[in-house]
Symmetry: C2
Subunit: 325 residues, 2 copies
Amino acid sequence: MSTPNQVSNQVPDALPGQLPVVGFVGLGAMGMGMALSLLQAGYSVQGYDINDAARARFAQAGGQAVDTLPAVARGAEIVVLMVLNAEQIDQILFGDDKMAGMVGALAPASLVIVSSTVKPTYVETLAARLAAHQIDLLDAPVSGGTSGANDGTLSIMVAGAPASIQRADPLLQAMGKNIYIMGERPGMGSTMKMVNQVLAGVQIAAAAEALALGARAGLDPNRVYEVICNSAGASWMFENRVPHILADDYRPHSAVEIWLKDLGLVVDTGKELHLPTPLAAAAQQLFIMAAAAGHTRLDDAAVIKVYEQLAGFRVLDSVAAPESD
Amino acid sequence: MSTPNQVSNQVPDALPGQLPVVGFVGLGAMGMGMALSLLQAGYSVQGYDINDAARARFAQAGGQAVDTLPAVARGAEIVVLMVLNAEQIDQILFGDDKMAGMVGALAPASLVIVSSTVKPTYVETLAARLAAHQIDLLDAPVSGGTSGANDGTLSIMVAGAPASIQRADPLLQAMGKNIYIMGERPGMGSTMKMVNQVLAGVQIAAAAEALALGARAGLDPNRVYEVICNSAGASWMFENRVPHILADDYRPHSAVEIWLKDLGLVVDTGKELHLPTPLAAAAQQLFIMAAAAGHTRLDDAAVIKVYEQLAGFRVLDSVAAPESD
């Protein structure tokens, strides 16, 4: 069981009973909730986001908003990254503009928790790159949406050295409810997240396809929702996303563009492993169609607009009139 | 509100408190359970199946096994059809060999309950064809598998004239738990079933794809099952079918061949409605691949063998060794 190299740790040890300073990068829909959960658990959190308004909201909520990435790292023993993708992570850690290159500001034996959804092979390589700087990495993508982030009830799929997992555990417990240890090799957590995304992405698109077919054939979509939630066709995503369609409310909880990325990771990884993913690829195409139609920033349930737009109808037109007697 | 033509009903009215005689065609995995549920509810059931052994089992369970289709109809006020497909229904009702042509043996004002999964347009046309013989049709496909059939806890998706629904209601209550009235137009029940099958079929195939990807990338499939059942990727089908894969047990609950048919109905109906169903079509291809590999009669979870066979590995090879300490 490996332990972080404490000898060269330049971060002063936390006093007994005192929680370590935490850096947090990415105060978006998910990251804000997670950072606030850490605040509520008593951590001092140095938060950064490229967006000024997000930083201001974080400061207002009691966080310590900082203006540069090195300032995130300063004095922080643990840094959580909750940004969009691998390109952003690379820029944050290794970028060479004056804002970036956080690796240079992180003390040896720091721990970087990567909670973004990225390719398993990227995380594995990143762990080796950080190890060259004596920085540990914990692979810790999350599931549970903005409500899970806000409530501190995320599922977190964790992989890394046992000592890193132990070190991160109080933070993971503050942000999540179900902490799943997937293995010691960074990338195993991201693999688990990717498996979840195959199902979640396909099932959002399938919910749209089934609802569109039913409405096109004359069924009341409200009735379809009720029946499916009690039938063998039920899924977590059907139950969660179809109400957005029925309410004609596409304000983004999770946006269409997320699936362009996440299903892309699935298809790429399948390609690398020589493991075909025809359903994930078909679902990815549906989200690309939604993007083509201009719905990138809408809630992912807007994939139903692909069917509606192509077939020239609206699912909600099939809602039955209320019975008069 | 239409009522069945009682004037020309040549079936003697059941005495007060006496249940009508019921005919039942199709004593397969689903039909046997449904027919036995009717028996248990006190109906006298005249059951037929092309398979001698099925008829013998039905007789042993207390049913009245009959040898010909006209014998199913004789004296029966209501007939339930639970056969494979539309071709069989057509042969049973209108066929001209000496066994078939049940329409000639059915009394006017009889009610035929069609519980097979068939195309909505077929049911709608069939209702008109039977109406020409003064026979009523109730569109009543079911969901819930053999366990639901055996326990009398099926979901039944019903469409037809209110009087027919009322007439069939005690039988439906005996066979099912959730009785969903979808509308007055025959075909609406079958449309609802088809919508369920889009989701169910896609989700079985997606369960296989996700599990195969996870195992190929080194995750323990038992662990994947546990995590997904508590995550946003969860579906009824994932929870129900993956245990068959984990147990390496492909004895058919619902066979691969069912999905060749049911997803075929979906794709055909979509084609007729000009409503694209790319996910259902992709899932259909996966079941066709499973059939190509010789797995037609295996449990539908055997669709995972498509991934295993192509990629030359076994999902169960990724099961982690039990921890030694």
